[in-house]
């Protein structure tokens, strides 16, 4: 009977049959009253639509309350069961609530739920008599316990009771969701929600299916399998409790229960015929939304002859026009009155699979969603959402003129609940972890891995295995992938501390820098890859565009903003032009992007790590020059990189040998063998994602001490020689690196080992990039001022020598440039290059000692 594969037809049958709309009583009266109205008219699919609901449907005393409620709601899709002929009921039909003795919901209308299909009322079948006989419709309460809704195993009374129990009792002190702000976790959470509804007046109760599942497995199963029947029952239950508690509360309409987070289906690709008419949750990206479609729920007809009026319900998208007037028996006299018909809002939305869920080499699937009433216009194209809804399949209509039917069904999802995955980012980064869920086995596996002593080395090895050696660089990138802990110092006026680690790779061409960048870009979910040569400041930041259709200004975000919380890989960093590079200053320290363009002024988050690669200016690294001189980047920018690595071609035989073996193996090893050898890319990715979202290490006492020592040591190295070899920025880098290393170990506390490794790595990077080529000593001022301390000293000396030389020349007001240079060279014991000479001249010019015009030097 309920074999899933045959559901579409079965359901359709039901939908057609129970064509009566939900009545006000329906929503909250005990079964006895509710069932009274059960349709005598609706017995078969092919039966004509009930043009006029049965008279006995009217609740006693209903008419009294007729005007008690103002027509305050714009969604007029409220079905009427009674008093059709009275125009006065228009718009306030559900105000008659007195018919339900237990309800105190005076003035709270019911609103139809188009998301559950046009019909909510299903017939009940007595299981103990002929269960399948279609004609047996229970009408007595005495049968209540044995009754189930036709086609299901749902018993309304017990289902309602169970759900009420769930609402009243469900407590989960451990569960934490971002929406839970202000909830007492030790009180029944849904009772608090109801209280919230009372206060706020938003009549929607969102129920996490996961909670329901942990509370009552069977009820959960029923919800998933028969949402169309179970959700109305839930509505009933929720409203009963609510109005018991807050009898004076006035809501826009009655509370609607919106379940979400059903575990049934997560991925669009897994949808199959078995999911039809079941409650599902899928995630995806909105690609298109339609305009608002007013969908007729009920048509209003008036006889042209005798002005008799009647209402006709929509049935499967069609309105059956009454051909005969019931009153005067004139044929074809009924005319549709548009502005007295009832419409509900509807919107078609196309949802596309999220790129992460897609298997490689296939195109994304899409699915159509129908949003109703409130949910219309809740999402925009481009939003990532989790949608909970009922999956539907509808046969493509039989064309009356063609006997054959297309054998294909149209499928869509009736949306019950949206959950935007993006919007959570407003709360901060940490919540993003929700997005990526891990199965328990996976978490076990990851934790198991984290306990291994050599996990750090292992992960570093797993990173881009095809790139040979460069272990420290890989380790650095690994730490970058993990990132430091985010700290908030807003209350002390400093704002957020950067947690992202920036790395610059520079070195000879052909040392697989690009390959590393590509690998990282492919590894992280929110990575961007740009090349310095091809990107402009606009492409990196954001630009304002005028929408050709709406003439509206739209902000389009660039690579840096897109890689918020990810890594932005910038290749050929040195080729980037000055203005482009300048936007990076703000991003790399403040982690924001300020935009003031075409009347749009805003600050966007760009909490991105930057992994850049630069080639030396002379195409080959000149070991005789400093980093700055080699790559010609402003030192203000360079000092914002935590680690600067040199990728040089090492020249030693053992290395060559290993490299050769490695490369040769690339060319014949089969792929499977490769997989075994290294950690899977997927595992690596999960490991990083897990650590990023769940591990948040803090500095321990010892580690703090070790950091202080390390910093003092670094400063000491320099102070002996009159140079400073560390700045507070370096200390911050050290902290970040130590934190990242603690994350690698899944440790909540930063310990001395982490500091040691951070120190080592930092020193390694420093040794490579900040060594003064002239003295061979690590000198951080190369990075911070672009010039080593010795070089600066030498420059000063030269300037002084030049000044002396000029002064010794006596009173000559102007000197020949070349002459002066030759003299200086003759006098000096070191080789004076033209550049050095010019620099010295400039220095003297700054002192207002002389001016240089063309080829002559003039004294002042």
């Amino acid at each position: 009977m309920s074999s899933p594969a045959s559901t579409p037809s079965r359901r359709r049958g039901k939908r057609g049959r129970g064509s009566n709309p939900p009545t006000p009583q329906d929503a909250r009266s005990p079964p006895s009253q509710k069932r009274r109205t059960d349709d005598s008219t609706s017995t078969g699919d092919l039966q004509p639509m009930p043009t006029s609901p049965p008279a006995e449907a009217q609740s006693p005393g209903a008419a009294d309350a007729l005007f008690s409620s103002p027509p305050q709601f714009r969604h007029s899709a409220i079905p009427l069961d009674f008093d059709i002929s009275s125009p006065l009921t228009y718009g306030t039909p559900s105000s008659r609530v007195e018919g339900t003795p237990r309800s105190g919901a005076r003035g709270t209308p019911v609103r139809q739920r188009p998301d559950l299909g046009s019909v909510r009322k299903a017939r009940q079948v007595d299981l103990h008599s002929d269960g399948l006989a279609e004609d047996i419709v229970a009408t007595e309460q005495s049968l209540g316990q044995k009754l189930v809704i036709w086609g299901t195993d749902v018993n309304v009374a017990s289902c309602k009771e169970k759900f009420q129990r769930f609402l009243q009792r469900f407590i989960d002190p451990l569960d934490k969701e971002d929406e839970d702000i202000g909830l007492d976790l030790n009180e029944p959470r849904y009772m608090q929600r109801l209280q919230e509804i009372n206060m706020v007046g938003e009549p929607f109760l969102n129920v996490n299916c996961d909670h329901l599942r942990s509370f009552d497995e069977n009820l959960y199963r029923q919800l998933i399998c028969y949402p169309q029947e179970v959700i109305p029952t839930f509505d009933m239950a929720a409203n009963e409790i609510f109005f018991d508690r807050y009898p004076d509360s006035i809501l826009e309409h009655q509370i609607q229960v919106r379940p979400y987070n059903a575990l049934k289906t997560r991925n669009m690709r897994n949808l199959n015929p078995e999911d039809i008419d079941q409650l599902i949750t899928i995630s995806g990206m909105v690609i298109r939304t339609s305009q608002l479609i007013p969908e007729m729920q009920e048509a209003f007809f008036r006889c042209q002859v005798c002005a008799f009026t009647t209402r006709v319900e929509i049935d499967r998208g069609r309105i059956a026009e009454p051909s005969v007037c019931k009153n005067c028996n004139t044929t074809h006299s009924m005319a549709l009155i548009h502005n007295r018909s009832m419409f509900s809002d509807k919107q078609m939305i196309k949802l596309q699979e999220s790129p992460e869920d897609m298997p490689a080499g296939q195109t994304p699937h899409t699915v159509a969603l129908f949003a109703h009433n409130d949910l219309v216009d809740k999402v925009q194209p481009g939003d990532r959402v989790n949608v909970t809804g009922i999956y539907r399949a509808v046969p493509i209509r039989v064309n009356p003129r063609v006997s054959s039917v297309k054998s294909v069904y149209r499928t869509h999802i009736d949306v019950i609940h949206y959950r935007k995955t993006d919007s959570k980012r407003l709360h901060g980064v940490d919540e993003e972890s929700e997005q990526k869920r891990f199965t328990e086995e996976r978490v076990e596996l990851l934790k198991e891995l984290s306990k291994k002593a050599d996990i750090y080395e292992r992960l570093a090895l797993a990173l881009a295995p095809s790139i040979y050696e460069h272990e420290d660089i890989k380790k650095g990138i690994l730490l970058q992938l993990f990132g430091g802990s985010r700290k908030d110092f807003t209350h002390t006026g400093r704002g957020n501390f950067r947690a992202e680690i920036n790395i610059l790779l520079c070195g000879d061409p052909g040392t697989s820098k690009s390959q590393l960048l590509q690998y990282v870009y492919n590894l992280v979910p929110r990575g961007q890859y740009t090349s310095g040569k091809g990107s402009s400041a606009v492409g990196l930041t954001a630009y304002v565009m005028k929408d050709p259709e709406t003439r509206q200004l739209v902000l389009q975000t660039g690579a840096l903003v897109l890689s918020d919380n990810g890594i932005c890989c910038i290749d050929e960093f040195d080729k980037m032009n000055e203005s482009t590079r300048s936007v990076l200053h703000e991003v790399m320290e403040q982690q924001t992007l300020s935009i003031a363009k075409a009347g749009i002024i805003c600050q966007l988050n760009a909490r991105t790590s930057i992994l850049a690669a630069a080639n030396p200016i002379e195409s080959q690294w000149n070991p005789k020059k400093t980093t700055i001189e080699n790559i010609q980047l402003p030192h203000t920018l360079l000092s914002r990189f935590d680690l600067i690595f040199l990728m040089l071609d090492p020249r030693d035989e053992a290395y060559d040998r290993r490299l050769a073996r490695h490369l040769v193996s690339l060319y014949y090893q089969s792929e499977e063998k490769v997989e075994e050898e290294y950690m899977d890319m997927a595992v690596l990715r999960d490991y990083i994602a897990y650590a990023r979202s769940y591990v948040n290490p803090r500095l321990g006492e010892e580690a703090g001490q070790a950091l202080i020592e390390a910093y003092v040591d670094m400063r000491k190295i320099g102070s002996g020689r009159g140079m400073v070899s560390a700045y507070p920025r370096q200390l911050e880098s050290l902290i970040r690196l130590a934190e990242a290393h603690a994350k690698v170990r899944f440790s909540e506390k930063v310990e001395t080992v982490d500091v040691e490794e951070a120190k080592r790595l930092h020193r390694e990077a420093l040794k490579q990039s900040a060594t003064d080529p002239k003295t061979g000593i690590v000198d951080i001022s190369i990075l911070t001022t672009g010039m080593s301390a010795t070089a600066r000293k030498r420059k000063e000396e030269l300037a002084q020598a030049l000044r002396k030389l000029i002064q010794s020349k006596g009173k000559a007001p102007s000197l020949k440039y070349q002459q002066l240079l030759d003299d200086l060279r003759a006098q000096s014991d070191i080789a004076v290059t033209k550049e050095m000479f010019e620099e010295a001249l400039r220095a003297l010019a700054d002192e207002d000692f002389l001016t240089v015009t063309g080829k002559t030097v003039r004294l002042l």
């Binding site: 078609m348 195109t363 014949y668």
Partner: protein, 649 residues
């Protein structure tokens, strides 16, 4: 023969038979595929199945078995359909079960109605692929597969009126003469040929199909706009000027295993039911009325359910991925089958003369430069055989620099290559073409389809980029994107398809050959500077005489050679690994500047393809030395060239 006609002409009746036997049991589906698998295994049975590639749709009988060699261009959403349904006769209340598989339309008799609420109804799922003929498929592939495989089609299809022996022969002769000269006219000529003949499909279908046929041609560039049809439907071929039927292929089993850009050969039931189109147009009319139908835009409707006569449907019974599309090779090259083994070993035994001949041929084609010819062979048999994280292994992009500019050398070289490889495309780079053509496929969300671009090519397609015609000028944004895409394609063998909100990476395997005057602006694995020994006064004459000098049988051998060697396995023994290691260390010792890791990469690649080109599947010491020698020669040439240039400057 009668039985053959049965499963070929009305496969659905056979399915019906099997269905009736096993009705409620879902085993029948398996039995159907088994049945057809068996049938197709019989002696060359696959050759009897008419191919959509060769025969215009309107000559094929609706609901007959057809085959189609195609590339998956786009994948539509899965469809739910009535796998099994029941019809009721309202008068007698008699109920009959039907199957909906392999059909677009649920059939029922004139007096019957479909019971949509029957408990017997089974809903099933199938996937639709939008398939186009393999882009850039060479003319000879079409021709040969037409000659060898579908020799029997007309015999079978038009059995009723034409006797088998007479109908075929004359047309073949006629075709093979003309094909070489102007393949452009291929389909129309074919049509002419068969127009005169009795039409097998019956007048009614034919009549309604004919105007639509014109529409295809119009959109394919003939600019014949027939007055009564709406703006021509873009059939979404990746390459401009392509022709041939696009097809909606409905796959019933294991569709997860197919990917975009896979080359498939499908056997299935052809469905061109005009009802499909009628239903659509009606739907479109009533869409204002019906909220259910307005969920798809008109554009989407047009794309997803185009007229069946223009884009026929194939309901797949059997589908297989093709490793190659060379009709001269057995379709499937696995070792189990003795026939294939025999074929391979036979060919291997005469490999070296073929190689020598091919080398000679290419040397002539490259104006007497044998080194360049050697590299060209290596390039032509290269293929991406594995990927290590992001690094594709086995790609071998050659930049042939120093091409004479004025004599249209590049153009003629491409024509020769086209004669050798099964699929190719000649990309003439110019400011204009870079700025205005669409390279990267992108998703059109209004029509909900992947709009194709030049770089959506099947595996092992040869892309010959002609840079000699590139002039100075300004590239606009589109142009820059296109050049970047080309660069990515060459370096990483992947194309980032544009999905508007995000980009998606599709790995590919395309052989790129760049002809340029100086060093190309695109990256390449290896630059070979051409040193012409002879400059023929008339390039056109020279090249065409070159081609006519080669016997067709020899040409076919070349084709087999290039396709077959690509599929061979390869390994390096430990011993040779050691030797290579030693060698590398030695080279570095002498001059660390001269040999880098990149050079070793290149040498290993050259060694790999050099061994394979000689039919050897392991690397030997001699080959390694030969590879080194080739590389040294190539480098010396480059250096020499640099010196020359330096002097000029």
């Amino acid at each position: 023969m009668p039985c053959v006609g049965d499963w070929l002409n009305c496969p659905l009746s056979i399915v019906q038979g099997i269905f009736a036997q096993n009705a409620p049991n879902s085993d029948w589906e398996k039995k159907v595929t088994e049945y057809f698998k068996e049938k197709l295994k019989e002696n060359n049975a696959t050759n009897w199945v008419p191919s959509l590639n060769d025969v215009p749709v309107h000559y094929l009988k609706p609901n007959s078995l057809v085959k189609f060699r195609c590339m998956v261009q786009d994948m539509f959403d899965p469809e739910f359909y009535m796998g099994v349904y029941e019809t009721v006769d309202p008068n007698t209340n008699a109920r009959v079960l039907h199957f909906g598989k392999y059909r677009d339309v649920a059939e029922c008799g004139p007096q019957q109605e479909i019971d949509l609420n029957s408990s017997q109804t089974v809903t099933s799922e199938r996937q639709t692929f939008y398939c186009v003929p393999v882009p850039g498929e060479s003319a000879w592939v079409k021709e040969i597969s037409f000659l060898t495989e579908s020799a029997l089609i007309y015999k079978l299809a038009s059995q009723a009126r034409v006797s088998p022996s007479t109908s075929y022969t004359p047309s073949r002769h006629k075709r093979s003469y003309e094909e070489d000269e102007d393949m452009d006219l291929h389909p129309s000529k074919q049509k002419e040929q068969h127009m005169g003949k009795s039409c097998c499909c019956g007048g009614d279908i034919h009549g309604c199909v004919e105007p639509k046929r014109l529409e295809t041609e119009a959109s394919a560039g003939h600019h014949v706009i027939s007055p009564n049809c709406s703006p021509p439907l873009d059939l979404n071929f990746p390459l401009p000027g392509e022709k041939g039927p696009a097809c909606l292929v409905k796959v019933y089993e294991s569709w997860e295993s197919f990917k975009v850009n896979d080359v498939l050969e499908v056997f299935g039931v052809l469905s061109v039911d005009p009802v499909l189109s009628i239903v659509n147009s009606e739907e479109r009319d009533s869409s204002t009325l019906d909220p259910m139908e307005c969920m798809d835009t008109a554009e989407e409707q047009r794309v997803h359910s185009p007229p069946a006569s223009l884009v026929p449907r194939i309901h797949v019974i059997l589908a297989q991925k093709l490793q190659h599309i060379n009709p001269l090779l057995p379709v499937c090259l696995n070792e189990e089958e003795s026939k294939t083994c025999e074929f391979v070993s036979n060919f291997m035994s005469e490999l070296s003369p073929v190689r020598a001949e091919l080398l000679g041929f290419l040397t002539h084609a490259l104006l007497g430069d044998s080194l360049a010819a050697e590299y060209l062979i290596l390039h032509l048999i290269s293929t991406v055989y594995a990927r290590r994280d992001v690094l594709p292994l086995g790609k071998f992009t050659v930049n042939l620099s120093g091409c004479p500019q004025n004599s249209a050398f590049a153009e003629h070289l491409y024509r020769l290559i086209q004669q050798l490889v099964p699929a190719s495309y000649h990309l003439r780079m110019s400011i204009e073409s870079m700025n205005h053509s669409r390279f990267i496929p992108h998703k059109d969300y209004t029509a909900n389809r992947l709009v194709s671009g030049l770089l959506q090519l099947a595996s092992n397609t040869s892309l010959v980029i002609d840079e000699t015609q590139l002039e100075q000028g300004q590239l606009d944004t589109a142009g820059v994107h296109n050049v970047t895409a080309l660069g990515n394609l060459i370096t990483w063998q992947k194309v980032d398809y544009d999905f508007n909100y995000h980009r998606m990476e599709f790995p590919c395997n395309i052989n790129v050959l760049i002809t340029s005057e100086g060093r190309s602006l695109l990256p390449s694995d290896c630059q070979v500077h051409l040193q012409p020994q002879i400059i023929p006064p008339n390039m056109e004459e020279y090249m065409s005489s070159l081609l006519t000098a080669v016997l067709p049988s020899v040409l076919n051998k070349f084709r087999i050679y290039l396709s077959l060697l690509r599929l061979l396995d390869y390994s390096i023994s430990d011993e040779v690994t050691k030797a290579v290691e030693e060698d590398f260390v030695e080279m570095r010792k002498n001059n660390p500047e001269s040999v880098t890791a990149d050079d070793l990469h290149k040498m290993l690649l050259v060694a790999r393809f050099l061994s394979l080109s000689a039919g050897q599947t392991t690397l030997s010491r001699e080959r390694w030395l030969r590879a080194k020698q080739l590389e040294a020669l190539r480098k010396a040439r480059l250096q020499q060239q640099q010196c020359v240039n330096g002097n000029e400057l």
